[in-house]
């Protein structure tokens, strides 16, 4: 049992304990989940401390046989890509618990238990190195989120919850078929082993086989991202979910999709990924612009933020399928940035909802005069989301655009429109909510931050600045892993060009040539 196992196990244990504690002990349950989620975060920082640069492959590996036949392993490990996503999940869960502290009044026990189960599943998704284990965690995540939306959501919660579940489930069964198919070819579920076999040419996929397998994985991930036109579940789920649910959904769960694209689709099926990159990037750019335009006309705060997510995630997909080091780095950095800044936006929107009991932009106005601190923090978050230099999103978007420009300049021209549009819809929203004349209801029901709310917001704002100013803390881990993924994605191109200084070298490559 190493640190990584502990990061996965802690929320799981917390989940079981929370189920055991009697329903009446609400305070104890809340405290317990908070303690467990904080402990998870602290332990996850241990992963950062213990991470070794320059070491190929995964670290903190834990590999034991779970099921002997067919051989399925509990095989977890991290690299620079999963490291930060795990830390992000562990970072946001205590905040999600914090913002729900007062808001969730009924069935508290299940709520907090499900949050921990969600965290357990999310960390597992990012840590799994066995395809089967990955699928298990991938599906487990669905269950708590389904209940979070369905029980504690707003008016149309049931519709949203069912739509969310079915969309994701339908996508992931295709992925399961592809995983099993890969197993029949390779005889293992171990991701690293499959990758080895693919790059060594021991498994040779025909063109159509590779394309179909790629699509089976891609559709599952694209639904999760969500890529235009598969995004329709997202606004519903975001708007109806309780704040904590929206935060976890936007900040971490969407990253499951982009993580999957980068971790599995690109390295395993490089030819198909490159062949299909054209239309995928066009869809991503449509998503960037379409998401921004739709966000602009939303009368509902949460829906606006939700559509802005569609737009932001378009950048991530564009970065990944640009197949450049800069693009990949930017995509991963943007995953983290979006997690922080959009997470913060959902937290703040949740605070506004708790005060005003409405999400309609027209019900607000002049909040800045009555709640100056809340407004200040909101504006900082908005600026981060728009991509103002010195704040986090700027770095990610810049890198993605630069990477996309290297690959195809036209792409970056169109994608850059999205940056401008994001400034339009966000600033216009800020203007209507925080400035102008103060509505009477707003004046009476808009206290400023209390201590708990400060405690939730300060870490988020601090991260926005840190990630915007000192990228060196985060980017090296990511770049190193991305370089390997990029190498891997060149490994299978038909001519099998040998790469000088390639970090991955397999004895089998020579044979395959």
């Amino acid at each position: 049992m190493n640190l990584l196992d502990l990061v996965i196990a802690l929320p799981g244990i917390g989940f079981i304990l929370a189920l055991i504690i009697p329903r009446a002990q609400e305070k104890a349950i809340r405290l317990l989940t908070l303690v467990f989620s904080l402990a998870t975060f602290v332990v996850s920082l241990g992963l950062v401390a213990g991470y070794q640069f320059g070491k190929a492959g995964q670290q903190f590996v834990s590999d034991t046989v779970w099921i002997s036949s067919p051989e399925i392993h509990w095989h977890v490990g991290i690299d620079g890509l999963s490291l930060w996503l795990i830390v992000l999940s562990a970072f946001l869960t205590p905040i999600a618990i914090g913002i729900s502290w007062r808001y969730i009044a009924h069935r508290t026990k299940e709520f907090y238990a499900f949050l921990l189960l969600l965290e357990c599943g999310l960390v597992g998704v990012f840590a799994a190195w066995d395809l089967f284990l990955f699928y298990v965690f991938w599906e487990i995540v669905l269950v708590p989120m389904y209940f979070l939306i369905g029980i504690w959501g707003h008016d149309r919660r049931i519709y949203a919850a069912v739509k969310f579940f079915l969309y994701t489930f339908a996508g992931s069964v295709l992925m399961l078929a592809a995983i099993i198919y890969l197993y029949t070819l390779s005889g293992t579920f171990d991701y690293a082993a499959i990758l080895d076999q693919l790059s060594a040419g021991r498994i040779i996929l025909s063109h159509s086989q590779e394309t179909l397998l790629f699509l089976a994985f891609f559709i599952a991930f694209a639904i999760k991202v969500p890529l235009f036109p598969l995004h329709t579940w997202l606004p519903d789920a975001h708007v109806e979910a309780p704040s904590a649910g929206s935060v976890m959904l936007a900040s971490v769960m969407l990253k499951m999709g982009t993580y999957g694209l980068l971790r599995f689709c690109v390295p395993m099926f490089p030819n198909a990924a490159r062949d299909n990159a054209g239309w995928i990037n066009i869809l991503a750019i449509i998503g960037i612009i379409y998401g921004a335009l739709v966000a602009m006309v939303q009368p509902n705060l949460k829906k606006l933020v939700a559509y802005s997510s569609v737009s932001h995630l378009g950048f991530v997909v564009l970065g990944i399928f640009s197949f450049t080091q800069l693009g990949l780095d930017g995509a991963v950095y943007q995953m983290l940035n979006h997690g922080i800044s959009t997470g913060a936006l959902f937290v703040l929107v949740g605070f506004l909802y708790e005060r005003r009991h409405s999400l309609a932009i027209s019900d607000f106005g002049g909040v800045a005069t009555v709640a100056p601190w809340l407004s200040t923090v909101f504006v900082i978050t908005t600026l981060a989301s728009i991509g103002l230099p010195m704040l986090n999103n700027f770095v990610g978007e810049f890198l993605v655009l630069q990477g996309a420009a290297q690959a195809n300049f036209t792409w970056s021209i169109f994608a850059a429109i999205g940056v401008i549009l994001s400034a339009c819809y966000m600033l216009w929203m800020v203007q209507r909510v925080f400035f102008g004349s103060t509505h009477e209801d707003v004046a009476h029901h808009m206290p400023d931050f209390n201590a708990r709310e400060w405690a939730c917001m300060i870490p988020l704002v601090a991260m926005m600045v840190w990630m915007g100013v000192y990228t060196q803390s985060f980017l090296p881990h990511i770049s190193e892993t991305n370089a390997r993924i990029l190498d891997q994605s060149r490994m299978n191109v038909p001519l099998r060009v040998s790469l000088p200084g390639s970090t991955i070298s397999h004895g089998g490559i020579g044979r395959a040539r």
Binding site: S68, R107, V136, I140, F147, G150
Partner: protein, 486 residues
């Protein structure tokens, strides 16, 4: 092959579960007039005891695997597995019947005796090595089930269901028997392994074998409620007493799948090219019809009936893969399915109330708030039906579709998996009502489920998790015994 008319001690040991249950069942018929009024629950306890003894007998029989009674019977891993399965299903069915029989003020003696006889029939089916034995077992099992279906004889729906089941069931048995006759005509034997040997002979008219196989598929397809022979299932499951529906959807079905496998994988393996397309079509039809019809159901029992048609379809996918892995997948899936289905029916029995008045989906409203434990159990079973990881249902589906892909049934796999996504919709609907709706009249007036029903909820839930977290134990046994007596 020499005929041995003097069975030895091993023969009796190999036949011990059937012996125990037959003697016990007959004894209960005798005791019925004496104790029925005074100790109505005693028969339930007694049947559990007998079934537990039966399980011990089945395990003891497996210590001396081999043929018995002139090769009529074969005790192998496959047979032992299914024997233990149907006997365990029997125990769960008895546990879930206590409260029901009490509520409906029904006689308990005959009920349990019939249940035991039905299980005797299934035990014979799963260990038979001879088409005639299979037929006898099937008839013992079916006739007892026909009576159980109409057990509450003053209830109109019970009678209707029993009549329908009986008429269509006999019709289907006729097909099976006709198939057996044709095979006997071609090969001059009814022993499964001898048929296999005879079919290897190049002079065998393969077209006639195809006809026989098709006839048997009709008969067996009816018994496992596979499309297009599924018409009876919703009506019968809806009309029969709920614990009987639970039993019928699991026990007789598992036994019917067992003989399906044994006949087709032993005798007809060489002519697979002929019957595989039929199974392929039937699998796809069952999944699609079952799932799409279930979406439209309002009645819980009908919903589960259609879902059982769909699940029969998944199992047929494994059958169509025609491999040892496929057989093992069927065995695993049936075990997982039996657990979740009995569990789900136990919840229905609980909420139905006297005369089964509350069977609509809306009657589950607010169960999550009023009876969280019951609701949590049903949630586990529903997630297992959907195929969410860490439940038995997930691994069942996984093994089935893996076997199918290994046999290159790519399209069937893709369509099957998409089907399971469709199925998620109607199972989720139950979860929605149970957790997201405000408690209705039914949930508010529910009493405690009682010890028997509680056990029938908790044991399957634990079993579902065991199969979902450490499936290796069951699967390894299934794989090791999937080669039959070949």
């Amino acid at each position: 092959m020499h005929a041995n008319f003097f069975p030895g001690a091993d023969d009796y040991l190999r036949f011990s579960p059937e012996l125990i249950l037959t003697i016990g069942g007959t004894l209960m018929m005798v005791l019925d007039p004496l104790f029925a009024r005074k100790l109505p629950r005693m028969f339930g306890h007694l049947s559990i005891l007998l079934l537990a003894l039966g399980i011990i007998g089945a395990c003891a029989a497996y210590t001396v695997p081999g043929y018995s009674f002139s090769n009529l019977l074969v005790v192998d891993g496959f047979g032992a597995f299914f024997r233990v399965m149907v006997l365990s299903i029997g125990i769960l069915a008895v546990l879930s019947s206590y409260k029901y029989l009490d509520r409906e003020a029904a006689e308990t003696g005959e009920y349990h005796a019939l249940l035991l006889f039905s299980i005797v029939g299934q035990c014979v089916m799963v260990t038979a090595n001879d088409l005639i034995m299979i037929f006898i077992g099937l008839e013992i099992s079916s006739i007892a089930s026909y009576i159980l279906t109409g057990y509450l004889r003053n209830d109109k729906r019970n009678n209707e269901a029993a009549l329908k089941y009986f008429l269509l069931g006999s019709f289907a048995t006729g097909f099976l028997l006709y198939g057996i006759a044709v095979i006997y005509g071609i090969t001059a034997t009814t022993k499964l392994d001898e048929i296999r040997a005879a079919l290897n002979n190049p002079s065998t008219p393969l077209a006639m074998v195809g006809v026989a196989a098709a006839l048997m598929i009709v008969g067996l397809g009816f018994k496992v409620s596979a499309a297009p022979f599924q018409m009876w299932a919703p009506d019968v499951y809806q009309g029969a007493p709920a614990p009987v529906s639970a039993f019928m959807a699991t026990g007789p079905k598992a036994a019917a799948f067992a003989i399906f496998l044994r006949i087709f994988m032993t005798s007809f393996e060489q002519v697979a090219g002929g019957w595989e397309p039929l199974i392929w079509i039937s699998a796809l039809l069952s999944m699609t019809i079952g799932n799409f019809a279930a979406i439209r159901q309002d009645n819980l029992k009908r919903l589960l009936a259609y879902s059982s048609v769909a699940h029969a379809g998944y199992i047929l996918v494994a059958l169509a893969s025609r491999s040892g892995d496929g057989t093992a997948a069927v065995m695993f899936y049936l075990a997982a399915y039996a657990l979740m289905n009995i569990g789900a029916f136990a919840v229905i029995i609980h909420i139905a109330g006297k005369g089964e008045r509350h069977l609509r989906i809306e009657d589950l409203a607010g169960l999550g708030q009023r009876q969280p434990l019951t609701a949590a159990m049903l949630t586990i079973f529903l997630l297992s039906f959907i195929g969410v990881p860490l439940t038995g249902g997930f691994f069942g589906k996984f093994y089935i579709f893996r076997a199918a892909l290994e046999s290159h049934l790519v399209w069937l796999t893709v369509l099957g998996l998409l089907n399971s996504a469709v199925a998620a919709y109607y199972y989720l609907k139950l979860l929605v009502v149970m957790y997201f709706d405000e408690p209705g009249e039914v949930a508010n007036s529910l009493g405690s489920p009682g010890a028997g029903l509680q056990a029938a909820l908790i044991i399957p839930a634990i079993g579902t998790f065991i199969l979902g977290i450490v499936p290796g134990v069951v699967l390894n046994f299934a794989r090791n015994s999937s080669a039959f007596g070949r």
